[in-house]
C-alpha cells in the first residue's frame, strides 16, 4: 500500500521504518529538506519531499506533526487527495482534532498510537517502537467503517493492540492515566519548593530517593507536553482534577481526624486496584 507520512520525527520516522519493513511504500513529507535527505538515507521512506503534492498517490496519509498544526496540514493536504484516501493523525488528544478535521475530509479518522519516549526528531526514529503498544482509533458517526478496518489492520501488523472508541471517551481516559498524573506530579515539585525553611528544603533535596523520583518524573518532564495536554484536553483534565481535589480533601480530613480505619481502607483498596491499570 502507498502510505504517506507528514512529519518525520520520532513517531512519523519510526512508523516509516516499521511500515516499510511490512512491504508498504512510504511517501514522506517534512518541512525541512535535510530531514527528507536523512529519511531517504536511513531507509525510513521510499520518496521524500517538502511538498504535500507528493502525497497525491497515497491511499493512506498519517499526519505525525504536533497537535496544533494537524488541522491546518489536513486543510492544505485536501486539494491533492483522491476521494478514497484515508487521512489519520497521531495526536494525543482527539476531540478537538476530530472536530476540526472531519469537516475538512470525510474520510478522516482520528488515531493515537500510544508509544514514544522523550527523544525527538528523525534521529530518534527507531524500529519496533510500537510493538505491544496500544493504538486507539476514534471514529465519529460519519466515519466510513472501511477507514477503521484498514487502519486497524495496519496497526495490528505492527504488533499493536487496537481500541476503538469515541473521541470523547479517549480524551477522558487519557486525562485520567496520562494528563492528570502530569499535573499532580508537577504540583509535588511546586509545593516542595514552597518550603520556607531552607534547612528543611536542603535536607529534603538531599534525602529524596526513589519515591520522590518516580512520583515527580512525569511532572518534571518536557513542559511542551504538559502545555499541549492542558490546552487541548482542558475540559477532560479539569474534570479529572476536580475529582482528584475532592478525593484529596477527603483524605486530608481523614488524617486530620485520625480516622485511621478509613485511611487504611483507602490504601488497601488502591493497592488492590492498581494492578488493573498495569496489564
Amino acid at each position: 500500500m502507498k502510505i504517506g507520512i507528514v512529519g518525520l520525527g520520532l513517531i512519523g520516522g519510526s512508523l516509516g521504518l516499521d511500515l516499510k519493513t511490512r512491504g508498504h511504500e512510504i511517501l514522506g513529507v517534512s518541512r525541512q529538506e535535510t530531514t527528507c535527505q536523512i529519511a531517504l538515507e536511513k531507509n525510513i521512506v521510499d520518496y521524500a519531499s517538502t511538498d504535500l503534492s507528493l502525497l497525491a498517490a497515497a491511499e493512506i496519509v498519517i499526519v505525525c506533526t504536533p497537535i496544533g498544526s494537524i488541522a491546518s496540514i489536513v486543510a492544505r493536504l485536501v486539494p491533492y487527495l483522491s476521494p478514497d484516501t484515508i487521512v489519520t493523525d497521531v495526536g494525543s488528544v482527539k476531540e478537538p482534532i476530530v472536530e476540526a478535521c472531519t469537516p475538512l475530509w470525510s474520510n478522516f479518522l482520528g488515531g493515537h498510537p500510544m508509544a514514544g519516549n522523550t527523544d525527538r526528531g528523525i534521529h530518534a526514529a527507531q524500529t519496533d517502537l510500537f510493538t505491544g503498544a496500544a493504538y486507539v482509533f476514534t471514529p465519529t458517526a460519519t466515519t466510513p467503517p472501511v477507514a477503521v478496518e484498514k487502519l486497524e489492520a495496519i496497526a495490528r501488523a505492527l504488533g499493536m493492540m487496537t481500541y476503538v472508541c469515541s473521541p470523547e471517551v479517549h480524551d477522558r481516559a487519557v486525562a485520567w492515566i496520562s494528563h492528570l498524573p502530569v499535573i499532580i506530579s508537577t504540583n509535588l515539585i511546586t509545593s516542595c519548593l514552597q518550603e520556607r525553611d531552607s534547612q528543611v528544603l536542603e535536607l529534603a533535596q538531599k534525602l529524596a530517593s526513589s519515591g520522590f523520583r518516580d512520583t515527580s518524573r512525569v511532572g518534571g518532564g518536557n513542559p511542551e507536553l504538559g502545555m499541549m495536554m492542558a490546552k487541548y484536553n482542558r475540559q477532560a483534565l479539569l474534570r479529572s482534577l476536580a475529582q482528584y481535589r475532592h478525593s484529596l480533601d477527603e483524605i486530608i480530613t481523614q488524617i486530620e481526624r485520625e480516622n485511621w480505619d478509613n485511611l487504611e481502607r483507602v490504601l488497601e483498596t488502591n493497592q488492590q486496584a492498581r494492578p488493573k491499570f498495569l496489564n
Copy 2:
C-alpha cells in the same frame, strides 16, 4: 565494638551482616526463637537470644523494630544497660520516638538509615543494603555529642552519607519527599476509581502505561507503610498536604482561566528544579 540489635528483620538483619564484616561483635535479639537460629546460621549475629538481657554487654544498641514498639522496647531495655551504652533506633519518623525515648535513656540518639526495599523479615537481610544511602541522626539539646560521633563513624564505615539535624527538621523533610508522595500517589488511584462511565474507566485501565505506573507506585504499595507515616508524622504531613492543596488550587485556576503563560512557567520551573532532588 559489641553492638546489640533488637529486631532481626530486613534492616536489623542487614545491619548485622555489614557490621559483622566490619569487625564488630553482634548481639541479636528477636521475639522469635526460630529467627535467632536463622540469624546465627546466616552469620548475621555472633550471639542471639529472645531475651533483652543479652544486650547488657553492648556498647551500642540499635532498635530495629516497627515504630510503634520502639519506646516500649527501650523502656524494657533500660534495666540491663551500662550508663555509657548508646541506644539508637531506625524509625522513619523521629520526633515522637525521640520525645518518648530521651526521657527513658539520656544516651538515646534517634537515627534513620534511609535504605530498604519492599521485602521483609530476616530472609530479606542482605549485605551492602546501606552502601551509598543516607543515614540521618537527630540529636536534641541534651544528647551527648559522643553518641553522634560514634554512630556517625559506624554509618560512614558502612559507606553511608550521614546527616545531622533536629527531629523536627528530619520529619518535615521526609514529609515532603517521602510521605506526601505516598498520599498524592494513592489519591491518583482513588480519583480514577471514581470514574462513573465504565467505558472510560475500562479504557483508562487498558491504556495506562509508564506515566501512570510511576506516579501511582508509592501510593499503591504496602498500606502499613502509609499508615505508619500518617500516624507518626501526621503534623508534618498535614503541613505539606495543606501546601500541596493550595498549589493544586492555583494550577487548576490557571487551567480554568487558560492562563498558559503561568502554567508554562510552573512546568519550566519544575523541570529545572527536579534534578536538585535527584543527586
